[in-house]
Symmetry: C2
Subunit: 249 residues, 2 copies
């Protein structure tokens, strides 16, 4: 029998979502809590990986378990896990359901604080000394929807077979002392959101010409895009699955 867990985490103190030898990861914490409470070694498959320092307000993973689940497992997991990881729900899915391959859409938000604010140190990147032209940034962001090969925004030596991604939404919103970028796609390459954000920020502050953006995408080479924006401003907001994964349907 296969189960999905839905959870959130503050990524500040983790070396990314995915288990890595010699580093603290969210996956390792999760699997160790599950293994402890189910008294058996549990392996999970996550919806994706987030980089070091990136947060998730809605993330999923699946695992297999053939016996009955203990009562109040969600509550027990939450007591066992550190305060920066929270389990929201645990539910049975079809045996063929897959947290990574069945995810249809991932939604990320990138938050920039444009004014020094003690309360926005953790989930915002602070950029206090630039004037951002948000209209420019939005015109450039829209261009992303015309392309599918985002090699230009991908970490080199990635193990993906294809760099094709379908972007459904890419939009900046401006608030009083804050800029928020929402981007959604069927999938993302490693480091892709932060490389896009870094490049759009350079366009917004006039360091790169707006019409250069198309060239940067078409070069299919990471070196033409800008430095990645800092990890702490990025949050995986949502992962969307088709109804068909549910056990009951």
């Amino acid at each position: 029998m296969r189960y999905f867990i839905q959870f959130s985490y503050d990524g500040t103190h983790y070396y990314g979502y995915q288990r890595q030898p010699g580093h603290i990861s969210v996956q390792e914490k999760l699997e160790s809590a599950l293994s402890k409470l189910l008294r058996k070694e549990i392996k999970t498959v996550g919806a994706g990986r987030t980089d070091t320092g990136v947060h998730a307000s809605e993330m999923y993973a699946h695992f297999n378990w053939e016996e009955e689940l203990p009562d109040q497992l969600v509550r027990k997991l939450n007591s066992f896990l550190p305060s920066d990881i929270s389990i929201h729900a645990l539910f049975r899915v079809k045996d063929s359901a897959h947290a990574r391959f069945d995810a249809r859409e991932r939604v990320y938000k990138y938050r920039i604080s444009t004014k020094k604010n003690p309360f926005k140190q953790r989930y915002h990147a602070q950029f206090l000394f630039y004037q951002f032209d948000v209209d420019k940034m939005n015109r450039a962001a829209k261009i992303l929807l015309e392309y599918k090969d985002f090699t230009s925004f991908s970490k080199l030596h990635s193990d993906n077979k294809t760099n094709d991604c379908y972007i459904y939404q890419a939009e900046w919103k401006q608030y009083e002392d804050e800029l928020v970028f929402t981007i959604s796609a069927n999938r993302f390459l490693r480091n892709m959101v932060r490389a896009i954000v870094g490049t759009l920020m350079d366009i917004g502050r006039g360091k790169i010409e707006e019409n250069e953006f198309r060239n940067i995408i078409e070069k299919k080479n990471r070196k033409f895009a800008s430095t990645s924006a800092p990890a702490k401003g990025l949050t995986l907001e949502k992962v969307i699955y088709p109804k068909e994964i549910n056990y009951e349907t």
Copy 2:
């Protein structure tokens, strides 16, 4: 000439607002930044003190300065101060204006998270295992407005001449996974908000009878009220001054 500074801080790493020998305080950081940039030792008078770990999203202090102020002093102060203290504004006031004595009203918020949430670790107290009856808590909170002597919620051996405070508002609001208490008064005694919140929480979860609250206030003895709620949930939201303090009026 007298100046007011308006600022905010995340109190997590400070031993309270007020300067104390051997401890790191917000006041000390502020005075040392001002002294450095004005090249003269500057003493400030704050609107009040907040306890260790308590935050402020709008706080004030005054200081005297007879010469011209350097250009862009706010920006320079912000560059100099750590990321958990932010200066919002600096403006001249009447020479008689006083950050503490002229403050007419102080508004505090106390935030409780009722669900484990990685993103609410810093400015919320987490109480996950109680059921709070918010109507009860609000009926009790209203009783506060009938009294002025809050010795029952004050730290012993306080150096105040009087324990009289006029409370203007005391109200809980319930959100999906959160309870927020707003309390405003002309002044507060040391530890008072957190002692009130702790007691109202005990009423809300049925540990103390609702009609006991009046007795607790009337005893004028700290030992009858409950344990103070944790500091990190408390934020000084606002300090209100009369228009007359302004230099121009």
